[in-house]
C-alpha cells in the first residue's frame, strides 16, 4: 500500500513542479490563485495553457506505461518496447501526411487522428503479415515489425523530400517525430482522460492472461490459454494504447521501456498491480520530462523525446548490463 501512496504523492509533486515550471516560473500561490478564478493574464495563461499541458503529459505518460507493460508481457522480454511492431513508423508517416499535405480538415484534429491511424494500421499490417506467412509467434511478429518499419520509414523520407519546399519547413515534422505533448483544449483533454481510463480498463481485462503467458507457451497452453490467439488480442489491445499515446504525445522515447521496470521493482511482476503502477510511473516520468523540456532552455522548448532519451538511454544501458551480468 505504501508503494501506491508513494507513487501518487510523487505524481502530485511532479505535477506541481510541472505547473510551476516554464518560461516564467509560477509559485504554488500563483497556481492556487489561478485555479480559484483569478482574472489576471498570468492566471488565465496558467489555466488555459500550462495546467492542461501538464495533465496531458501525465496522461500520455500513463498510456506509454500501460502500452509498454502489455508489450513486455506479450513478448515476455523485459527489453521489449511499445514501438516494436511498426507503430512508431506508422505514426510518423501519418503525422508527416497531416503536417505536409494540405487537406481540408483542420490540422489540430487531423494530426492526432492520422498519427493514431498510422500507428494502429502499421501494427495491424505487421500482424497480418505474420499471419499470412504463418509465423504468428513473437519472433515472427518482431521480424515483420522490423520489415514494416523499414518500409514506412522509407516512405516517410520520400514524402518529406517530395513535399517540402521553401514554404513548408521540415522542422515541424522533425519536432513532431522527436516527441512533445501538444497543449490540448479542455474538451480534448477530457477526451484524452476518457481514452486513458478506457485503456486502463482494457489492459486490466488481459492482465490475468498476461500472467499465465509469462509461465511460458507450453505451460500457458496446458493452463487452457489459446496462446496464439491471445498474443494477437493482446498486441491489438497494446497497440491501441500506444497509438493513443502517440496521437497526443508524439514519439516519446524510452518511457514505455523504463516505466514497467520501475513499476516492477515497486509492486512486483503480476500484471494486475503492475499495469496501474506502470501507468503512474509513466505519468511521473513524462510530467517531469515535459517540465524539463519547457523550462531548461527558455524561451525555446527541447523536444520531450530528446529529454526522455537523454535520461532514458543511460537507464537502458544500466538495465542491459544488469541483465547480462545475471
Amino acid at each position: 500500500m505504501t508503494a501506491w501512496l508513494r507513487m501518487v504523492v510523487v505524481l502530485l509533486l511532479a505535477m506541481m513542479v510541472g505547473i510551476s515550471a516554464g518560461h516564467g516560473w509560477a509559485s504554488p500561490a500563483d497556481v492556487l490563485r489561478a485555479v480559484a478564478g483569478d482574472p489576471s493574464l498570468g492566471s488565465r495563461l496558467l489555466v488555459e495553457w500550462r495546467i492542461p499541458r501538464v495533465l496531458a503529459a501525465a496522461l500520455v505518460g500513463a498510456l506509454l506505461g500501460l502500452g509498454g507493460t502489455v508489450f513486455q508481457g506479450v513478448f515476455r522480454n523485459p527489453l521489449a518496447e511499445p514501438y516494436l511492431l511498426g507503430s512508431a513508423g506508422g505514426a510518423a508517416l501519418g503525422a508527416t501526411v497531416a503536417l505536409l499535405v494540405p487537406l481540408a480538415v483542420p490540422q489540430p484534429l487531423l494530426l492526432p487522428v492520422l498519427a493514431f491511424a498510422g500507428a494502429w494500421g502499421a501494427t495491424l499490417l505487421v500482424i497480418g503479415i505474420s499471419r499470412v506467412s504463418g509465423a504468428v509467434d513473437a519472433a515472427g511478429m518482431l521480424l515483420a515489425g522490423v520489415a514494416v518499419a523499414a518500409i514506412l520509414g522509407a516512405l516517410r523520407s520520400f514524402l518529406m523530400l517530395a513535399l517540402s519546399d521553401e514554404t513548408i519547413s521540415l522542422q515541424i515534422v522533425l519536432s513532431w517525430v522527436l516527441g512533445g505533448v501538444q497543449t490540448p483544449s479542455w474538451p480534448m483533454l477530457g477526451l484524452l482522460a476518457a481514452i486513458t481510463a478506457a485503456c486502463v480498463g482494457l489492459t486490466l481485462l488481459i492482465a490475468g492472461r498476461l500472467d499465465i503467458l509469462g509461465l511460458g507457451e507450453t505451460m500457458a497452453t496446458s493452463f487452457g490459454l489459446n496462446v496464439h490467439r491471445f498474443i494477437m488480442v493482446a498486441v491489438l489491445a497494446g497497440s491501441v494504447v500506444v497509438a493513443a499515446a502517440i496521437a497526443f504525445g508524439g514519439l516519446v522515447a524510452f518511457v514505455g521501456l523504463a516505466a514497467p521496470h520501475i513499476a516492477r521493482w515497486l509492486v512486483g511482476p503480476l500484471h494486475k498491480p503492475l499495469l496501474p503502477a506502470s501507468a503512474l510511473v509513466g505519468a511521473i516520468v513524462v510530467t517531469l520530462g515535459d517540465a524539463i523540456s519547457r523550462s531548461a532552455l527558455p524561451p525555446a522548448e527541447i523536444p520531450l523525446g530528446l529529454v526522455t532519451a537523454v535520461a532514458g538511454g543511460p537507464f537502458f544501458i544500466v538495465l542491459l548490463a544488469r541483465r547480462l551480468r545475471k
Binding site: 500472467d211 505451460m219 496446458s222 512486483g268 503480476l270
Partner: protein
C-alpha cells in the same frame, strides 16, 4: 473404463514422423512410466495427450470426449501437465505461482492453496521469488502449481531429470504414488526408477508403442534391449530388478 486414450495418433513435422499411428488406453487410476530412447516420441506423445500439440492424424479422448473439441478451461482442469523445463519469464513468488495454478480451476476450494503449499512442504517459501529457489524447491513448486487443482490426469515429462538423486527419488515417488487414486503418466529416463515405482511401463520407440506391460512382464522382454540398442544384464535384487546396460 479409461480416463485418457490415444486413438491412432500420428504427428508429422518438417518431414519427420514423430508419432506413427500410436494407440494407447490409460485407466482412471494407475501409475504409468513412459520410457524409450532419445527421439522416440515420448515428449511429443505427452504433449499431444495433454492437448498442447495437435496430432496430424488420430485423436485423443478424455473420458469419451474428443480433446480437440473440449473447452480449454475444462482441459486445463482435467489434465495437469508438468513440462520438462519450466522457467517462468517473470520472477514470481512461490505463493503467486501456486495461485496462478489454482486460478485455472473454476472453483478451487478455499483450502486447496494451503493444502498444496503444505503437501509440497512449501510453507516457509511463500514470499520467496523463483530466482532464489534451489532445483529441488523449484521442482516442488512446479508440482504444487500443477497439482493444486487436483486434476484427474497428470502427465509429467521427466520433471526430475536435472535434480540430484535424492530429490529425483522424492519427485518420482510422489508422482507414482499419485497413481493410487488418479492417473499419473510420467516420462522417466531412469529405467531403474521406472521399474521400481510404477505399475505399468510403456516403451515407445520410433513413434510407436514397442511394449506396454506390467513391470514384471516387461523386464525380461528382449524388445527393451532392441529399443535402446544395448544389451541389458537383468539383476534380481531384494525389491525388484536392476538393469545394467552393456554395449550390444
Amino acid at each position: 473404463m479409461t480416463a485418457l486414450s490415444a486413438d491412432n495418433l500420428s504427428v508429422q513435422r518438417g518431414g519427420a514422423t514423430l508419432l506413427d499411428g500410436l494407440s494407447l488406453s490409460l485407466g482412471p487410476t494407475g501409475s504409468v512410466a513412459v520410457i524409450g530412447p532419445n527421439g522416440a516420441g515420448k515428449s511429443t506423445l505427452l504433449k499431444v495427450l495433454a492437448g498442447i500439440e495437435s496430432p496430424t492424424g488420430g485423436r485423443v479422448l478424455l473420458g469419451d470426449r474428443d480433446l480437440a473439441t473440449l473447452r480449454h478451461s475444462m482441459r486445463a482442469r482435467s489434465i495437469g501437465f508438468v513440462p520438462q523445463h519450466f522457467d517462468p519469464h517473470w520472477d514470481l513468488s512461490v505463493a503467486e505461482l501456486v495461485r496462478l495454478g489454482a486460478e485455472r480451476g473454476e472453483r478451487v476450494p478455499q483450502g486447496a492453496l494451503d493444502a498444496a503449499i503444505a503437501a509440497f512442504e512449501l510453507a516457509g517459501l511463500g514470499p520467496r521469488r523463483w530466482s532464489t529457489l534451489s532445483g529441488g524447491e523449484r521442482a516442488r513448486v512446479l508440482l504444487a502449481t500443477v497439482l493444486v487443482v487436483d486434476p484427474p490426469v497428470l502427465l509429467a515429462d521427466e520433471p526430475a531429470a536435472s535434480l540430484d538423486i535424492r530429490h529425483r527419488l522424492d519427485v518420482v515417488q510422489a508422482l507414482a504414488a499419485r497413481g493410487r487414486k488418479r492417473l499419473s503418466v510420467v516420462v522417466v529416463h531412469d529405467l531403474d526408477l521406472a521399474f521400481a515405482y510404477f505399475d505399468r511401463v510403456v516403451l515407445v520407440d520410433g513413434g510407436r508403442i514397442a511394449a506396454d506391460a506390467a513391470v514384471a512382464d516387461l523386464i525380461g522382454d528382449p524388445c527393451l534391449d532392441a529399443a535402446f540398442g544395448v544389451r541389458f544384464e537383468r539383476l534380481r535384487t531384494d525389491d525388484g530388478w536392476l538393469l545394467r546396460a552393456r554395449r550390444a
